[in-house]
């Protein structure tokens, strides 16, 4: 019988998730297993994700990859998986439970804190900055916002975060939000966009308002890379989504074989800018 590993993710339309998917598919090819990948429309749809998880379990998988939207809500289903002896690999963010054999994740909070450090350096540790975040309630949205804001508050007393607004990761909405922020704060020195859609929105908004501010982004994608190359964006944090996908499937395969796994597989995050973009190690974790 074929080894089948469904991955239930937090989303599927964003480039980030598409990159995770491609990593998983790569691993599936390497280890000769079958994977499927799906996730709900928005990161608010906790119950839809649970429906997906139960459908995945109904397919009698050999193992399961799961990126929980809520750290607790899926626990009954995970228990069911455990009872059916289906090993669960958590990815992207963990669950409040020891059922997953391992968690392949990036520390979003630490990554965003790195973004704060870079931003502070770029504006001379002084002045007003704003955050255009992608989501107010989802784990990634909250972690990236808090990681950035907390580090600023803790380490850079002269940097003031004037506003945090949310554009749902929608390019157009984030553009409009950025423009309003620029309008409201004429002395603004920097803006942090917390995912690809938000970061591109910030770039567009700044471009349309013809202002000079320091932009720090998150994730990659062609437009962000172009913006960095053109000097519009100072730099961005990237996780290793392809790596997350790959490692998740790899860990699942190992778990099936009964191999011992570390509690956490850190897939890492990186700061990239004009200077190191073409560095092969960095280029490998960027996606278009």
């Amino acid at each position: 019988q074929e080894t089948y590993i469904p991955l239930v993710s937090k989303g599927f339309q964003h480039q980030f998730w598409q990159a995770v998917k491609s990593g998983a598919e790569q691993a599936a090819k390497d280890y000769k297993v079958k994977v499927t990948f799906e996730g709900p429309e928005t990161e608010a749809m906790v119950d839809k994700q649970i429906d997906m998880l139960s459908a995945a379990l109904a397919k009698h998988p050999t193992a399961l990859g799961f990126a929980a939207l809520d750290s607790k809500a899926a626990i009954p289903l995970l228990k069911k998986a455990q009872a059916a002896k289906v090993p669960v690999v958590a990815f992207d963010s963990g669950v409040d439970s020891d059922i997953p054999v391992t968690t392949a994740t990036t520390n979003n909070k630490a990554a965003a804190a790195l973004a704060a450090d870079k931003m502070a350096d770029l504006i001379g540790k002084n002045g007003e900055v704003a955050v255009v975040a992608h989501d107010q309630t989802s784990r990634t949205g909250v972690d990236r916002r808090d990681g950035f804001v907390d580090r600023m508050k803790a380490n850079y007393p002269n940097v003031k975060i004037v506003t945090v607004q949310y554009g749902g990761g929608d390019h157009l909405k984030s553009t409009e939000i950025t423009k309003s922020i620029l309008q409201a704060y004429p002395n603004l020195k920097g803006i942090f966009g917390t995912n690809e859609g938000s970061a591109i929105g910030v770039v567009n908004g700044v471009k349309e308002m013809k202002r000079k501010v320091v932009i720090v982004g998150y994730d990659s994608g062609k437009q962000q890379k172009d913006a960095i190359r053109d000097g519009l964006m100072a730099g961005a944090i990237t996780q290793n989504p392809v790596g997350i996908g790959y490692k998740t499937v790899e860990a699942a395969v190992k778990a099936i074989k009964g191999e011992q796994l570390p509690k956490v597989i850190d897939t890492g995050f990186y700061w990239y800018d004009k200077t190191n973009m073409n560095d092969p190690k960095i280029a490998a974790v960027l996606y278009d």
Binding site: V46, H60, D70, K72, A73, P76, T137
Partner: protein, 343 residues
């Protein structure tokens, strides 16, 4: 004014009860009702043949479970839609009620029944507000409920502090939807209570719609509001009642989802109104009001969740799932239209 009428005359036009019953069972209408399940059955048969994993107790239970929330929301919508209105706020109202239950149980530590009542109370209150906006202030239902949708979404986030509220300290809470009373009696049928609640709500709503004065006025309002008003009925009052009842039912949905997730997720809810309205319309209720059944709505809700589940079980790529869902919804409604036309 007296009515000069002999009993025999009356009998001629009003047949006795036994005759009525017999004649009703063999009416084509009954056959029609059974045929309404056709689209649903076709879908189920197709998925059963296409995947051995579909027709298994566990999966059927998941489908039932997945239908519960949308089904209850769709029942709430059915009331409003029958009056010729529309309710866009059902999704965020559900969330708002879940959050209020969370506030009562987790933040205030009140006993479980208070939390349950709170969900229904705040549902009714919000429904009442929508009703007043529509009936008294004459704001079109689309705008009134759109406004309420945004307002309730904002309030849910404000009240919860944009964080989920967990019910870990209220042990019995998740049992509301997760335990199985049926399973205790018939261990081979572990149908969770959420499904039981869905069917109870449906039965109650069906009776109210068919046999109560509220139901009668709901249909009448949707059919010809002016005529109802000219008949001396307090149209505004009954409209408000309909929206209030609908809001209360959304409160039940709020309980179900909170209990299923063992938490109140304040950001969830927007977008659910489309699924609910779609279930209602797939079920044959007309958006212009005056016609509709709870049975149809339930079938509509099941069509939607069978479709979602089946496509997932077949591991259809997600973008194709979306596209196919669109096509199949249109086809399901079209076959229903053909069926009605062939009468």
């Amino acid at each position: 004014m007296t009515l000069p009428l002999t009993p025999t005359e009356a009998q001629a036009t009003a047949p006795g009860l036994p005759v009525l019953l017999k004649d009703r069972l063999f009416r084509p209408a009954t056959r029609q009702k059974l045929l309404a399940f056709a689209s649903l059955l076709v879908l189920m048969v197709f998925f059963s043949v296409a995947s051995g994993n579909f027709l298994q107790v566990d999966n059927l239970v998941s489908i039932l479970q997945a239908t519960a929330v949308n089904g209850v929301l769709a029942i709430a919508c059915t009331f409003v839609i029958i009056t010729g209105g529309i309710d866009l706020s059902v999704g965020t109202l559900m969330t708002f009620c879940a959050v209020m239950t969370g506030v009562c149980l987790t933040y205030l530590g009140l006993p479980l029944p208070v939390g349950v009542l709170a969900a229904i109370f705040f549902g009714c209150l919000s429904g009442f507000t929508s009703g007043v906006l529509v009936a008294k202030l004459k704001i079109p239902p689309f705008i009134a409920t759109l406004g309420m949708m945004l307002l309730l979404k904002g309030l849910a986030l404000v009240i919860s502090g944009t964080k989920p509220i967990y019910f870990n300290d209220t042990p019995g809470f998740s049992a509301i939807s997760q335990d199985s009373l049926i399973g205790q009696v018939l261990p081979s049928l572990p149908i969770p209570n959420a499904v039981l609640i869905l069917f109870l709500v449906a039965a109650a709503a069906g009776i109210v719609l068919k046999h109560s004065i509220l139901g009668r006025y709901a249909f009448a309002l949707g059919s010809n509001e002016e005529a109802v008003r000219l008949s001396g009925v307090n149209v505004d009052f009954w409209k408000i009642v309909v929206y209030t009842v609908s809001g209360g039912i959304c409160g039940i949905a709020g309980l179900l989802i909170a209990s299923r997730l063992n938490s109140a997720q304040p950001a969830l809810g927007q977008g659910y109104e489309l699924d609910a309205i779609a279930a209602v319309v797939i079920g044959g209720t007309s958006l212009s009001g005056g016609a509709g059944t709870i049975l149809g709505t339930i079938i509509g809700a099941f069509i939607m969740s069978v479709l979602a589940n089946g496509l997932r079980i077949l591991s259809v790529a997600q973008e194709w799932q979306t596209a196919l869902t669109g096509v199949i919804i249109i086809l399901a409604v079209y076959t229903d239209i053909l069926r009605r036309r062939s009468r």
